[in-house]
């Protein structure tokens, strides 16, 4: 079910009413049923995959807790292998098989391994990673194994964050399902405000930019350098608004019911370095890789070559996490490369000691570097990505593509609006307050303005969130 659909609107209202009407003892059941329904709207049969990993990880958690010595590790490995196998089959099997075919074709041999005719279950990487974080945390002794099967299932399936995160840790969310929640006006209000802002980002900015981006990236060979740069910049904004918009709606949805989900974005395009960007972008995934891969590999407490290797492997795997395609692997690799170059050339910079101009230039430079990586993320193929890079760097001539002038104008207007709001939130927090203004008239007017901006300028064709495919 998509957040930006009428279906979800009706579903959510019903769930909220029932949630607050029901006694605390039955709420977990309501949320679990609602989450199953939410997921099954996409493709009902794939609930079985979720069911499989839930059962494995639930028992793995208990077994890990009840065991000692090497047996604990064995149970953890069993759980991790089960989770990774699901990912491998559904997400990477055909990709690996395709590459084997290509390789064998070079030697004139045909690949006898058949392809699987399967669709990728929606949000697979998200809930698999969340499930893995549970068994790892139980193994590390940071969290007790959950004995209530329904509550554990809800930990994996909680509908606001089921298909595109934030990827939660058991310490942050599991105890909340046990807590008795009361109707809290300020929680409801702040949740709804967050949802409203998320809808603005998704429907008005992301989906509007997508019209231009899809036209250009669909046939990149037809466009000149300026058009390709514009489309790339639009995509830079689109991906941010699409994903952070989703996250805002998810966090807001949960907040209304009294749940606190972790923060996933922190105005990433105001980062002064690529390193800082990754501490502001998709925080739940970055910290997942940091805690469960980068640090176990030795992190930065090793010799420099090994540190560089650790960084590169983490970023390449992060790229692969996004999708089974070389474009994502290159995207991840490029980000890793940026960080390695920064370590080798720049070392550690204390930005607080530098002038606003220096920081401003660094923000623009980081924004450009990150925008460049998005070319690989968005392009339909590696060939297209390199074609776009070539056209941009050779300053390919030709007419500038505007598409529908009003769509172009709307995109620019609302990108500027969004960045202005983010600028004030970043550098002058509390100076210009709209949704949380103490003056009722200003507060109401700001809600109404955003609602009517969404009604008048939103794209309502039910465009899917980009990160659902991961």
């Amino acid at each position: 079910m998509l957040f930006n659909s009428l279906h979800f609107g009706i579903f959510y209202i019903i769930v909220i009413i029932l949630y607050f009407v029901l006694d605390h003892r039955f709420r977990w059941f309501l949320l679990l049923v609602a989450s199953c329904y939410f997921y099954m709207v996409f493709k009902p049969i794939y609930i079985l995959i979720l069911g499989f990993t839930i059962v494995i990880d639930y028992y793995a958690g208990i077994l890990i807790e009840n065991s000692e010595g090497p047996l604990r590790k064995r149970y953890l490995l069993m759980s991790l292998i089960a989770n990774i196998s699901v990912l491998a089959v559904f997400k990477y099997y055909n990709f690996i098989n395709f590459n084997i075919s290509e390789l064998l074709a070079e030697f004139g041999t045909k690949n006898p391994i058949p392809y699987l005719n399967i669709l990728l279950p929606i949000g697979l990487s998200f809930h698999t990673f969340q499930a893995m974080s549970y068994t790892i945390e139980v193994y590390r002794g940071n969290h007790k194994a959950e004995r209530h099967f329904g509550i554990y299932s809800l930990y994996v399936m909680f509908f606001p964050q089921l298909v595109a995160g934030p990827i939660e840790r058991p310490q942050n969310i599991l105890y909340q399902f046990h807590e008795r929640k009361y109707f809290n006006y300020s929680f409801v209000a702040s949740g709804l405000k967050l949802m409203l802002w998320g809808f603005f980002k998704k429907l008005v900015v992301a989906d509007r930019c997508a019209i231009y981006v899809n036209a250009v990236y669909g046939q990149p060979e037809h466009y000149n350098a300026a058009t390709l740069i514009t489309a790339t910049l639009f995509f830079t904004v689109q991906i941010y608004c699409d994903f952070s918009g989703y996250t805002d709606i998810a966090i807001g949805c949960a907040k209304v019911m009294g749940f606190d989900l972790m923060k996933n974005f922190n105005r990433p395009y105001f980062a002064r370095s690529v390193h800082e960007f990754w501490s502001r972008w998709h925080i739940s995934l970055s910290t997942w890789f940091r805690d469960y891969l980068y640090i176990p590999l030795g992190g930065n407490r090793v010799k420099k070559p090994r540190w560089i290797f650790n960084l590169l492997i983490v970023f390449i795997l992060s790229g692969l996490w996004h999708g089974a395609n070389w474009t994502y692997i290159i995207w991840g690799g490029l980000n890793g490369l940026y960080l390695i170059l920064a370590i080798l050339i720049l070392g550690k910079i204390d930005y607080k000691k530098h002038s606003a101009l220096f920081n401003g230039i660094n923000i623009l430079w980081t924004f450009s570097l990150i925008s460049f990586t998005w070319i690989f993320f968005r392009a339909n193929s590696v060939h297209d990505a390199f074609l776009i890079c070539e056209s941009i760097f050779s300053f390919k001539k030709g007419g500038y593509f505007i598409g529908t002038p009003t769509t172009f104008m709307s995109s620019i207007t609302f990108i500027l609006f969004l960045f202005t709001v983010e600028f004030f939130n970043e550098y002058y927090p509390g100076k210009i307050v709209l949704f949380n203004n103490k003056n009722t008239v200003v507060r109401y007017l700001s809600y109404i303005t955003i609602i009517f901006i969404i009604i008048l300028f939103g794209v309502f064709d039910g465009g899917q969130f980009i990160y659902f495919q991961f």
Partner: protein, 309 residues
């Protein structure tokens, strides 16, 4: 209690705001001096010409209204609109017939008219363009209701929703930015047929004719017959030379013949003459001039009809 009081106040303010905004945008839409929605508004609310031309962008760029008017001594307006299908044309036609009866109607169709905007796509296209008129014109409302009830319901509850994506274009046209039409005709200047567009092949449909589109064509024809309107169905020129045409084309031809409606297949007219085409689908102003003269000759009965392709 605090929540309900605030919710009521908030919803009431939203309601007032919506009605005010809806009213303002409606006034802007109707007063629009140029642009695509001005042509739609005109067709629904004001048209009173003797000759009306319906169709997609190929209609709007191929029939010079003034030329037809001067030659036939009949007032003419071109109501063609970019990207629209017979579904849109039929609703527009019914809205006009609710006010008066034109003498002659030209319906310009694509050879693949009954397949190219099949299913939900055609419904969505027509809805997006006609939704602003749901609270203005009863005929439009009734017809959109029958194909997209949910959209009309939303438009009736939230008046400003009808104008989704329109404010910038309304302002643009209100301040007369952009090219102005000539009685609905939009001229294209220059020749931009690219080599990649040049093919010598056939237009083939992979799917059968869409029943909704087919029924709308039949209804368009029967409305003309019942109202005694002289309807001519045209397939206007394309740059490429097509050996065989589509299932949709055969169906259109069959429906016209069955209903005794003049059907003029001019898809091959001036084929391959780059100087007359803006792109593979559209004639430029010079091409449109020649083609309109040909159309006038056909309408006057001066040239042999190419009935049945």
């Amino acid at each position: 209690m605090k929540l309900f009081k605030q919710l009521f106040l908030f919803l009431f303010t939203c309601f007032l705001f919506d009605r005010g905004l809806g009213w303002t945008l409606k006034k802007l839409l109707i007063a629009e001096p140029q642009g695509a929605s001005n042509i739609t508004s005109y067709g629904i609310l004001k048209s009173d010409e003797d000759v009306l031309i319906y169709g997609s962008s190929r209609a709007s760029h191929h029939y010079i209204s003034k030329l037809i008017k001067d030659s036939l001594q009949l007032s003419t307006f071109n109501l063609g609109r970019d990207g629209m299908s017979i579904l849109y044309d039929n609703i527009m036609y019914k809205a006009a017939l609710g006010r008066y009866k034109p003498k002659v109607v030209i319906l310009d169709l694509n050879p693949n008219e009954l397949t190219w905007k099949a299913g939900q796509e055609g419904i969505d296209e027509a809805t997006s363009v006609l939704l602003p008129y749901v609270n203005i014109n009863k005929v439009v409302k009734e017809n959109l209701d029958s194909i997209n009830r949910l959209a009309t319901l939303k438009a009736q509850v939230v008046h400003s929703y009808c104008f989704n994506s329109l404010p910038f274009s309304l302002l643009q046209h209100y301040f007369k930015i952009g090219e102005k039409d000539q009685f609905g005709y939009l001229k294209l200047v220059g020749s931009g047929v690219s080599n990649s567009e040049i093919v010598n092949s056939s237009i083939k449909d992979s799917v059968g004719c869409d029943s909704l589109l087919t029924n709308n064509l039949k209804e368009f024809i029967s409305l003309s017959r019942d109202n005694g309107i002289n309807l001519h169905v045209f397939i206007s020129p394309k740059y490429n030379n097509f050996d065989t045409l589509s299932r949709s084309f055969e169906e259109i031809k069959k429906i016209c013949i069955e209903n005794d409606i003049p059907f003029h297949n001019l898809i091959g007219y001036k084929n391959g003459d780059r100087s007359l085409f803006y792109d593979a689908e559209h004639l430029n102003n010079s091409g449109a001039r020649l083609y309109t003269e040909k159309t006038i000759a056909i309408l006057k009965g001066d040239a042999a009809f190419v009935i049945g392709g």
